[in-house]
């Protein structure tokens, strides 16, 4: 549903607003790199705007900090209604290295609802373009949760009273059943 809405509402262009709430500036540089002629996202209609009131998308960098959480929330509320939030970088997605320290509240999603996550420390400019393409519904996402299991050997529990015979190699009676 969200995807259909995105395709309908953002058919022409996305205007992005660039909010740093306490990051290390690494992700900011990558986002600005996306806007340079090398990656030239203006051909897709993506444009950087200076005010959240003009923006469709907020690009969040850095974790939600105690000092900036309220400002971030106000910037989010100032955006007009069909709005998306992209969390860019490890700090915005999950809190980063200092996710549990005092000044850091945690990931950005604790303060404002996040729609898309672009992990990386910092993400490559290509990864940011890819994230925007996923949000627009141009490409399907590639990742899925992975669950792996080791092949398990059946180990019989050791009960000494079930041993039969003596000598060098006693026979364990319930060996076949386990």
């Amino acid at each position: 549903m969200l995807k259909n809405l995105c395709q309908k509402m953002f058919g022409r262009s996305l205007w992005v607003y660039h909010a740093n709430s306490g990051g290390c500036n690494g992700c900011d540089i990558e986002v600005l790199n996306v806007l340079t002629p090398y990656y030239d996202v203006e051909r897709f209609g993506i444009k950087l705007v200076g005010s959240p009131r003009h923006a469709d998308v907020m690009l969040c960098q850095g974790p939600a900090m105690r000092s900036t959480a309220q400002a971030l929330q106000r910037a989010y509320q100032a955006m007009p209604a069909p709005k998306l939030v992209f969390a860019i970088g490890s700090c915005a997605c999950g809190g980063g290295i200092w996710f549990d320290s005092y000044p850091v509240i945690g990931p950005v999603e604790k303060i404002i609802p996040v729609n898309y996550y672009i992990p990386g420390c910092p993400p490559r400019p290509e990864a940011i373009i890819y994230g925007v393409a996923v949000a627009l519904g141009l490409i399907e996402k590639k990742v899925a949760p992975v669950e792996l299991k080791q092949p398990m050997f059946p180990i019989p529990r050791y009960h000494p009273e079930e041993l039969r015979g003596g000598g060098d190699l006693p026979v364990y009676e319930k060996l076949e059943k386990v």
Partner: protein
């Protein structure tokens, strides 16, 4: 003056040519030493939790759910891709892949979960990490399971009958 400067600017722009990379149309190769998403290999992992101890973002969580199973959970959302886990892994079970197109709508998509089967000590009944070949040489007198053949080995004959102490380990003779 201004017209001339504009012309000079135009000449500079024409000299540069087209610099825009054809990224979305063509895939862009990453550098050789690029560290993308870590891939965990459950078949190689021995459950030593070295990755969890060395993770800067504490993105690898280890928990023992029962006697024989250890769960290793990788929380991908706060991983900084520093590659320390791959560096310390003694079995090289973690590889830093070149995957960077991992943007997603749900943070849970980045998680990886490993169920590792641990051996059980026949004395104390708790899990233990499989000892290295050097440690196995030292552990005279301890019992090991013959897992491949589903067989029990009840006593090691690696020590002398009369000698009750090997190095500084006291052997319980029954």
């Amino acid at each position: 003056m201004s017209v001339r400067s504009k012309l000079e600017e135009a000449v500079i722009c024409l000299k540069a040519g087209r610099v825009t990379l054809p990224y979305p149309a063509q895939p862009r190769p990453v550098p050789e030493n690029f560290r993308g998403r870590p891939i965990f290999d459950a078949a190689k992992c021995i459950g030593c939790a070295g990755c969890a101890n060395n993770c800067t973002a504490r993105a690898v969580l280890v928990s023992d759910v029962c006697q024989e199973i250890r769960i290793l959970k990788y929380v991908g959302s706060r991983c900084t891709y520093c590659g320390r886990c791959a560096e310390v892994c003694p079995e090289k079970a973690i590889t830093m892949s070149h995957e960077f197109e991992i943007a997603t709508g749900s943070a849970l998509d980045l998680d990886q979960r490993l169920e590792i089967f641990m051996s059980t000590c026949q004395r104390c009944g708790r899990c233990f990490v499989e000892p290295s070949p050097l440690e196995q040489l030292k552990m005279k007198g301890y019992r090991f399971d013959d897992l491949q053949n589903d067989r029990w080995i009840f006593r090691s004959r690696a020590f002398l009958e009369n000698d009750t102490v090997v190095d500084d380990i006291a052997i319980e003779l029954d």
